[in-house]
Amino acid sequence: MTNSERIYKVIARVMDVPISRINDESSPQNIESWDSFNGLVLADELESEFNLKFTMKEIEEVVSVADIKKCLKNHGEKFDD
């Protein structure tokens, strides 16, 4: 599984939407269930999935798949795209 797929899978599970609906543009603007509480749950689950800890600033700023990727890159994760 690529890192992108890992992210999509976690988002689909936490936001309870089909994985086919997730892409790099996914954010609270287009996924209804992505509220601030689920955002916190998402950060928590991404931490377990990638075995890392976000800073509080990162949790606050990570509000789209693109942000998540940027953030994970800073933590040393690699993405093909």
Binding site: R13, V14, F37, L40, V41, D44, E45, S48, M56, I59
Partner: protein, 582 residues
């Protein structure tokens, strides 16, 4: 036991509506911080036990207003159980950081006042609601600004919180419907650094980190299960590799692993935990494929056995299949299969048991016996909301029952009953017997004509109601005291007409004429008060078939939904019973 992540519960919770339920419960959650996610955990955990849980979560930090305002949403929700989860930061305010900004006597005053406030809050709740209340104690933080000098300082931060917790315990100990949840113990179990996530706290005032809400929910199930009589009464154990290491039939008496050294010490530890449960009323039984003599030699003679012959209410040690043995155990102990938990080290036996008798809760023991005790201790299924004298003596009573059966084997039934020397005391409920009477209505299934469940508060209301009669039967025989084992509740509907609202008998005294004695005493009392009609109903359930012919067998006549007794004639009671009625 390990838990799923919170998102698992959030997702599962959305699928609950399609399921089937046996029971329902209404749960309110109040807290001084963000506790989102807990209601979903509880609803899913309840659904797994076929319980439909309706949940209400109060607004953020609204617990004071909700409790003090009798018109609040909390009260109109009509909860059965209310959890009030407080945290030390909200209660202490700035003192949490700066305990030494005020003097020792001011700190003592502060604690005194906080306890008073909480006690008042609890009192308002108890006055306004029939719900049981669970209030958490406070976590004693690991850090103190005084560092290693903490306990040299008089009434420092930790001592202050400890003292507040202790005062809360003593104030609420006798409050019948209020329980204290040991939240401090919960934090100790997992560690403050895990439970408290600074980022989640700063971000959303989350004071129990999301990954641990499922564990908190698991603990809270310990309150809900007994309230719904969905708790377990009996532990059935295998012997080889479960109570001791190795196989006695092959390794021999001297070479099984049991004793102070590893790996035998893990089995000793497990047995000690079983014994502790036995001492507060959990029944133990054995289901093992073994030679009876080999097994009994270990139980009776092995120097390091903790559990001995007297601790087991029933043995099925033979070469029959374990399924029939399990059914036999349930029959002999007169308990439902759904009140049994089964421990067996063999995964195949467990699979077979799960398939054949899914009602029995079969525990997935790991390969490693060092974890047995931990698994047993983490189970919430054995909780009870009240431990009565009868519970503590239950083990002894089942042993007496075993002796009764052995005695029964030797003679015919009538001589047997005569030889028992049964004495039945019939009394009206009083404060002392009230908890047990309520408990019997909550957990009696088989000989229970209407299966109406009454919490202590309801029984107390009946007791104070001139138009309701709550009576109980206490049964003794030559083998011992069975304690309070029968209950009836009569509603005096009209001066001339009584309704039997509840009539039940604990399974261990069924078949001895106790029911005749109780019914006869009701009819006698009715006659004394000039009542001409006593009526009752039988509400069938899955479990109460043993008493479906109760009314016709005593001459009651069916009239629409009710069975009626119009006769002037007194009811005969068996001559071998000695009755003591006040």
């Amino acid at each position: 036991m390990s838990e799923f992540k919170l998102s698992y519960y959030l997702k599962k919770e959305k699928e609950i509506s399609n399921q089937k339920f046996d029971k329902e419960i209404r749960v309110a959650i109040l807290s001084s911080f963000t506790i989102n996610g807990l209601q979903e955990v509880l609803r899913v955990k309840c659904a797994n036990k076929k319980i439909l849980c309706h949940a209400y979560v109060s607004g953020y930090n609204q617990y004071n207003q909700e409790i003090l305002d009798i018109g609040s949403k909390l009260y109109s929700f009509k909860p059965d159980f209310t959890f009030l989860i407080l945290d030390v930061r909200s209660i202490l305010g700035d003192l949490f950081f700066l305990p030494n900004s005020i003097s020792v006597s001011e700190r003592k005053n502060f604690v005194e006042n906080k306890v008073k406030d909480l006690h008042n809050l609890v009192n308002s709740f108890v006055k306004s609601s029939d719900s049981k209340l669970v209030i958490s104690n406070l976590n004693i933080p690991n850090y103190s600004p005084y560092g290693i000098y903490e306990f040299k300082d008089e009434y420092g931060l930790k001592e202050m919180i400890q003292n507040l917790n202790n005062k809360l315990v003593s104030k609420l100990r006798d409050e019948q419907s209020v329980y204290i949840y040991d939240f401090n113990g919960f934090v100790n179990r997992f560690g403050e650094e895990n439970i408290f996530d600074y980022r989640q706290y700063f971000f959303g005032d989350v004071k129990i980190s999301l990954d641990f809400l499922p564990y908190l929910g698991a603990d809270f199930m310990g309150y809900l299960l007994p309230a719904l009589s969905a708790n377990k009464k009996c532990i059935v154990v295998d012997l080889d590799n479960t109570l001791w290491g190795g196989i006695v039939g092959e390794d021999g008496f001297n070479d099984i692993q049991l004793g102070p050294n590893r790996p035998g010490n893990a089995f000793v530890e497990f047995q000690k935990c079983l014994l502790a449960l036995h001492q507060r009323g959990i029944i133990l039984a054995v289901n093992s494929r073994n030679n009876l003599d080999d097994a009994m030699q270990v139980i009776n003679e092995h120097p390091h056995m903790v559990l001995r012959d007297g601790h087991f209410a029933c043995y099925m040690i033979n070469w029959n299949d374990k399924i029939s043995n399990m059914k036999e155990i349930a029959k002999e102990l007169n308990i439902g299969l759904d009140s049994i938990v089964y421990f067996d080290d063999d995964p195949i036996n467990r699979e077979i048991m799960k398939k054949a008798i899914p009602e029995v809760q079969t525990i997935d023991l790991p390969n490693d016996p060092s974890l047995y005790a931990k698994i047993l201790k983490s189970m919430q299924e054995f909780n009870v909301l009240k431990i009565t004298k009868e519970d503590i003596e239950k083990g002894k009573m089942y042993l007496q029952q075993r002796h009764r059966s052995e005695f029964k084997g030797s003679i015919n039934l009538n001589d047997y009953l005569k030889g028992l020397g049964i004495k039945v005391k019939i009394r009206q409920v009083d404060d002392f017997s009230l908890p047990r009477v309520s408990q019997l209505t909550l957990k009696t299934n088989q000989f229970n004509l209407t299966t109406r469940r009454y919490q202590e508060e309801e029984i107390r209301k009946f007791k104070n109601d001139r138009n309701v009669l709550v009576g109980y039967a206490q049964v003794e025989d030559k083998f011992g005291d069975n304690g309070i084992t029968g209950v009836y509740i009569i509603k005096k509907e009209k001066p001339s007409e009584w309704l039997i609202d509840t009539f039940l008998l604990s399974c261990r005294v069924i078949g001895r004429g106790i029911e005749n004695t109780m019914l006869s005493s009701i009819l006698k009392e009715a006659k004394n008060e000039g009542v001409t009609k006593v009526k009752g109903e039988f509400i069938p359930t899955k479990k109460n078939r043993p008493c479906e012919n109760f009314f016709p067998s005593f001459g009651f006549v069916k009239n629409q939904d009710y069975w009626e007794y119009n006769s002037e004639k007194d009811l005969e009671i068996p001559e071998y019973i000695q009755v003591d009625q006040k």
